[in-house]
């Protein structure tokens, strides 16, 4: 760049001034809280009684791992993530993207529009819709009755599956869009050559399509997992983590401990663990992407 040679050192420093507002906001409202989070997680801060805030070391973490409710939340988060993000959003998104390539245009447009509408709707509206869907007197049981299948009170008997399904309903569009883009880039002549050679649908998928879009699969899995890890509103509005604690994933558990039970220190320790898991996934994701910036 010719400008570089002409400009003085001072002018060159000025160039980075536009970065300051964004950096300042990120430091104040994101890095700040995360730092604060690290500190608070090692104290016994409570909402009531502002005086009592002492450094307690690893107590909160020890307590967490000994706490049956915490382990329950970890387990439910695992179920929720695997069922809704890995199996649900990811597989259904891939299936939809694949089917759309074979389907006729009106069906493709209709399905795409519906799936994307579910994605664009505000979280709380989605929660409300699926609450209505799963309630004892809701639509799902009406459909099951009509098919002469046994109905039940889903939000009571299988709350974690109900919220997982809700997350699939809401989040599949993202995977569908990524996979549609990825499949569009798989060269047609390669699959066609395989078809001529007599490779059936399953084998074409297994040996050609999946390997060619493997990076998109990695990305989608990672982003689905990360967004599912932080789902709160959907679960809170549908079940409040209940009945009992049977749909209490980590974010709900964190909220419950920090605000309803006023144990800010303990709740923050849980938040910190959640952040650590998230960071771990993010780092893997960045490695996977090998981003060029």
């Amino acid at each position: 760049m010719s400008r570089d040679s002409r400009d003085s050192r001072g002018a060159r420093a000025w160039r980075w001034v536009p970065l300051t507002p964004a950096t300042l906001l990120l430091l104040l409202f994101l890095a700040g809280p995360i730092g604060y989070c690290v500190w608070i997680a090692f104290t016994d801060t409570q909402l009531t009684g502002a005086s009592g805030s002492h450094f307690v070391g690893l107590d909160n973490f020890r307590r967490a791992f000994a706490d049956e409710d915490f382990r329950n939340a970890v387990w439910l988060t695992l179920v929720f993530t695997v069922v809704s993000a890995v199996l649900g959003q990811n597989t259904l998104g891939l299936a939809l993207a694949g089917l759309m390539r074979a389907a006729s245009r009106p069906v493709r447009t209709l399905t795409g529009a519906l799936v994307i509408t579910a994605w664009v709707l505000p979280e709380i509206v989605a929660a409300f819709l699926l609450y209505a869907f799963f309630r004892r007197e809701g639509t799902l049981n009406a459909v099951l009755d009509w098919l002469h299948l046994p109905s039940q009170n889903w939000l009571f008997t299988l709350p974690i599956l109900a919220v997982s399904f809700a997350n699939v309903w809401r989040g599949t569009a993202f995977s569908m869009l990524i996979y549609s883009a990825a499949l569009a880039e798989v060269p047609r002549d390669v699959t066609e050559a395989a078809e001529v050679d007599g490779a059936g649908g399953v084998r074409r998928l297994r040996y050609i399509t999946l390997p060619m879009i493997r990076r998109s699969i990695g990305t989608t899995l990672m982003l689905n997992t990360l967004s599912t890890l932080s789902v709160f509103g959907l679960i809170w509005a549908m079940t409040r983590g209940g009945p009992g604690n049977r749909s209490q994933t980590l974010p709900v558990f964190m909220y419950d401990q920090a605000f309803l039970k006023s144990l800010i220190g303990y709740g923050t320790a849980v938040a910190l663990l959640l952040l650590l898991v998230g960071s771990l996934f993010s780092v893997v994701y960045l490695r996977l992407l090998k981003v060029e910036v």
């Binding site: 964004a22 299936a95 089917l99 519906l114 409300f128 639509t139 066609e192 709160f232 992407l289």
Partner: protein
Amino acid sequence: MRGSLRGRARGPVHRRTKARLAADAALLLTAAGFALPLLWLVLASVNADADLRVRLPGSVTAEHFDAVLTDEITFTPMLNSLLLCGGATVVTVVCAALAAYPLSRYRSRFNRPFLLTILFTTCLPITAVMVPVYGLFVQVELIDTMHGTALFLATSQLPFAIWLMKNFMDGVPLVLEEAAWTDGASMTQTLTRVVLPLMGPGVTVVMIYTFIMLWGNFFVPFMLLLSPEQLPASVSVFTLFGNYGSVVYGQLAAFSILYSLPVLVLYVLIARRLGGGFTLGGSVKG
């Protein structure tokens, strides 16, 4: 090649038609699954005696919409949402545009670490940060203030907005800018008069996308705003839904439609540009 195959034997063609029918059937079945909850929303909002089931209304009515179109239920929360999300969107877009400029135009050894940090931050579960944010907001007395909440909302969207903005800006050629530089234009002038107008569609996408994400955000205002008269629609609909002993389902459906409409319309406006290639602003390309 396909053409000649088609000409020689009916086999592949026939198979293709069957495959299309099977795909259509499978998609329609899935589409029905996705449609049922949405159908409930639409039908219940006009059904005089709506309950939780999808069914055709015995008598169609506008009374639910009438009932919720009051200051208390619709207008104040929607105005709050508009102020909160509009304000946050402006902050996000301005900061992102400013930040993207040097990142896109100048080379430095800080670029890569900065952008990697930004990308890393995009992935962090913001939900986990809410407890310490609440604690900090109480201490610096930003709790229950619209501007404090708007600033946090803006920051939460900022990493992704910078990332998108930088990618759009990379697409604007340097030539015209260099001409402006030679004519003695300052950096601010170059940015506002040359670069931003050229990437108008890109800025619009970032703006609308940010707004959509913020409009639907529930947890942040749920935590940081306390007084009922300041609550945005995302939280007020929850209060309505959660606290009424016997919910008037028709009214809730009607309000949900009113609340969702702006983002649905905005999404349609940018769908073509975000559409198929929308994958973290191009960062996910195979």
